[in-house]
């Protein structure tokens, strides 16, 4: 089955050795200021000229900084995501448990309002929610990229029965109905580690989510890498290296990997938002993060229960996620254009 990956990686980079010394084509007209530029520098120059890319990059960076600095910001703001302000302080919530002030109780004290019934602060929940989302999705992306590249490259380079076997395993993994498997397996895997009568600690929940997402996620990248390696290994420079006596380890490390960085980076920038939303979807379905861990998906889950009385509680995490995903997708497009200008449409 020939699945379009949407990555448009038709790249044939031969910039392994030597090309860093040769001047880029658009510079040859003005030899006076020629200074050797590495492909990385060129890509960076292209990226900086792309206004959409820079702005979306800044937005993404802002989210990362907010996640990293969450304790500092929360300390300056003077609240935390766990205290039930609305219950401790009379007058904040009305008799039905909804924020007394309009728009979900937004005011100078509670910047994004209060959570219905429990009366926790929305802004700090959102802030700490970034940490949960990014921690889980980055861990998953790191694991699946490492695994996927390793498996894909080895299968593509070795060929023969290894490639055949890996190809069939990838086929099977990709035909698993993944969302259903995530929600079905996460509780099962958790019960492996924790006896049924005990509370599952938060770190273990996160680990389980990461493990299960990774167990299915590597196949996509492995397939992509395998395809790349299949076309790369027939190139002259690989043949030259082989004739010069390089072993498979060296060829993969020194000849193949440098040419795979572009598809790897592009794939990373495309998968991070996917896993941010997948993690949120799992919490929305009730198998990811649970009370009281601050998490966007869990907030939307709660928000969906009370949406008709207080829509604002779900607007905050929903919009934050929308902005983050849009910015990250735009950033991904710009990264691809910068690394691989020929794939530009």
């Amino acid at each position: 089955m020939n699945e379009p990956t949407g990555l448009a990686v038709t790249s044939d980079h031969r910039d392994t050795a030597g090309s860093s010394e040769e001047p880029p084509p658009d510079q040859t007209l003005a030899p006076a200021e020629v200074a050797g530029r590495s492909p990385t520098q060129l890509a960076w120059r292209r990226f900086r000229r792309d206004r959409t890319g820079v702005i979306s990059g800044a937005v993404v960076l802002l989210f990362f900084l907010a996640g990293l600095g969450a304790p500092v910001i929360a300390a300056l703001y003077g609240k935390d995501p766990y205290t039930t302000y609305g219950q401790n302080q009379p007058g904040l919530l009305n008799e039905f448990g909804y924020p007394a002030k309009p728009n979900g109780g937004i005011d100078g004290q509670f910047w994004l309002g209060l959570e219905p019934s429990l009366g926790r602060d929305v802004f700090t929940q959102l802030l700490y929610g970034i940490r949960t989302s990014l921690l889980i999705s980055l861990a998953v992306v790191l694991i699946i990229t490492t695994l996927g590249v390793l498996i894909g490259v080895v299968a593509g380079y070795t060929g023969r029965w290894v490639d055949f076997g890996v190809g069939r395993v990838i086929d099977v993994v990709l035909s698993f109905p993944s969302t259903l498997f995530f929600i079905a397996f996460i509780p099962v895997i958790q019960s492996l580690f924790v006896p049924p009568d005990q509370e599952t600690p938060t770190w273990l929940r996160a680990t389980t989510v990461i493990l299960v997402l990774s167990a299915f996620g590597w196949a996509q990248i492995a397939r992509l890498m395998r395809g790349q390696v299949l076309s790369l290994r027939e190139r002259e420079y690989i043949e030259a290296a082989r004739i010069a006596g390089a072993g498979p380890g060296r060829i993969i490390r020194a000849e193949l990997l440098p040419n795979l960085w572009t598809p790897i980076l592009v794939s990373v920038s495309m998968t991070v938002p996917t896993y941010v939303t997948t993690e949120a979807a799992l919490s929305f379905l009730g198998v990811g993060m649970v009370e009281p861990t601050p998490d966007w998906g869990r907030m939307i889950h709660r928000g969906a229960e009370v949406y008709s009385a207080d829509l604002s509680y779900m607007l905050a995490p929903g919009l934050a996620m929308l902005v983050f995903v849009i910015a990250f997708n735009l950033l991904g497009d710009s990264v691809r254009d910068a690394l691989d200008p020929r794939a530009h449409r």
Partner: protein, 325 residues
């Protein structure tokens, strides 16, 4: 063609076999004990053993899996209760036959899937075509920006906002839900509109992008130029020639999406509380209802592999350069 079908169907059966085995062993081998749930508070070891025996989970695992498999093809006996040929067992929770529940829930899933698939294909391909033909113009930019937002928004967020606005505030639509189209076509349509719209908004972007970029590519191909040179009108070229070549990635994505929807659109069905296969799966997981989970997994996996075969067969129809092996 026949050889291709036989080969692929055999492959599909193999994949389903692997998936069912993996699911079975993961669930039944692990220490999550469904008997403990139905046993309740005053549970004694004897009572637990009885429940184990009644559920059939006191026997060795391979034996259990074997009777599960033979049950699908030949039916099986559950302590005097006969479960006929395609037997998937009985639910641990309400003790109904799993197959009956699945068949009962399937029309809702089918309604969501077919309607949403038709709508998102029309909207997505339409947007992509218009954008490709008006490349670089305002229409192109606006529709591609809309696609970016659509592709980035989440079903559970968009769906609830849309429900709040269209159902609760403006009251343009009735509450989403499934009613039989044969009993009350109007109510069926009204209840399905919101899920259809939501799935379209979230998924149409992919189709629009693929259609746009492959149309732009194919419009530059030699055979399109030749068709033009023969004196064909631009619309004739677009429809008869360029469109056909541009359809391959769209067909691939459509097949995968339709396969996913037919296996139960989990998030959509949960968001709108539609009692289809997807909602059944989510509920069964919450109740540790293992036979029911097995059933939904099998339905979803079957839909996926069948869709992938259909996609490959479609390639040959669309693109004469593809030959099936």
């Amino acid at each position: 063609m026949l050889r291709f079908l036989v080969r692929r169907v055999l492959g599909a059966v193999l994949i389903l076999f692997v998936i069912s085995a993996v699911t079975f062993f993961l669930f039944f081998a692990l220490p999550s004990d469904p008997a403990r749930l139905s046993c309740g508070k005053g549970c004694t070891p004897e009572l637990l053993a009885t429940i184990h025996h009644n559920l059939g989970i006191d026997r060795p695992l391979p034996e259990q899996y074997w009777s599960f498999l033979t049950g699908i093809f030949a039916g099986r006996d559950f302590d005097g209760q006969w479960c006929s040929a395609p037997c998937l067992g009985f639910s641990f929770v309400n003790h109904q036959p799993v197959l009956d529940t699945l068949l009962n829930r399937f029309p809702a899933t089918l309604s969501v899937a077919l309607g949403a698939a038709a709508l998102m294909l029309t909207v997505g391909v339409g947007l992509g075509l218009i954008a490709a033909l008006r490349r670089g113009k305002t229409v192109d930019k606006v529709s591609m920006a809309a696609c970016l937002v659509g592709a980035s928004v989440q079903i559970y967020f968009f769906g609830i906002i849309a429900r709040y606005l269209l159902v609760d505030e403006l009251q343009w639509l009735p509450q989403p839900g499934y009613t039989s189209p044969f009993a009350a076509p109007g109510a069926w349509f009204g209840g399905m509109v919101l899920p259809w719209i939501t799935l379209t908004v979230v998924n149409a972007a992919t189709y629009a992008r693929y259609t746009r970029s492959s149309m732009v590519d194919t419009l530059g191909e030699d055979y399109v130029r030749t068709a033009r040179a023969k004196g064909l009108s631009s619309w004739g070229v677009y429809i008869r020639h360029a469109w056909r070549g541009a359809m391959t990635p769209v067909v691939t994505t459509f097949g995968i999406d339709l396969g996913l929807f037919l296996g139960g659109a989990l998030i959509t069905e949960t968001t709108f509380n539609i009692h289809g296969i997807g909602k059944l799966a989510v509920d069964s997981v919450a109740n540790s209802d293992l036979p029911m989970i097995m059933g939904t997994v099998l339905v979803a996996a079957t839909a996926m592999v069948l869709a992938s075969i259909a996609v490959d067969a479609c390639y040959a129809v669309i693109d004469p350069r593809v030959r099936l092996r």
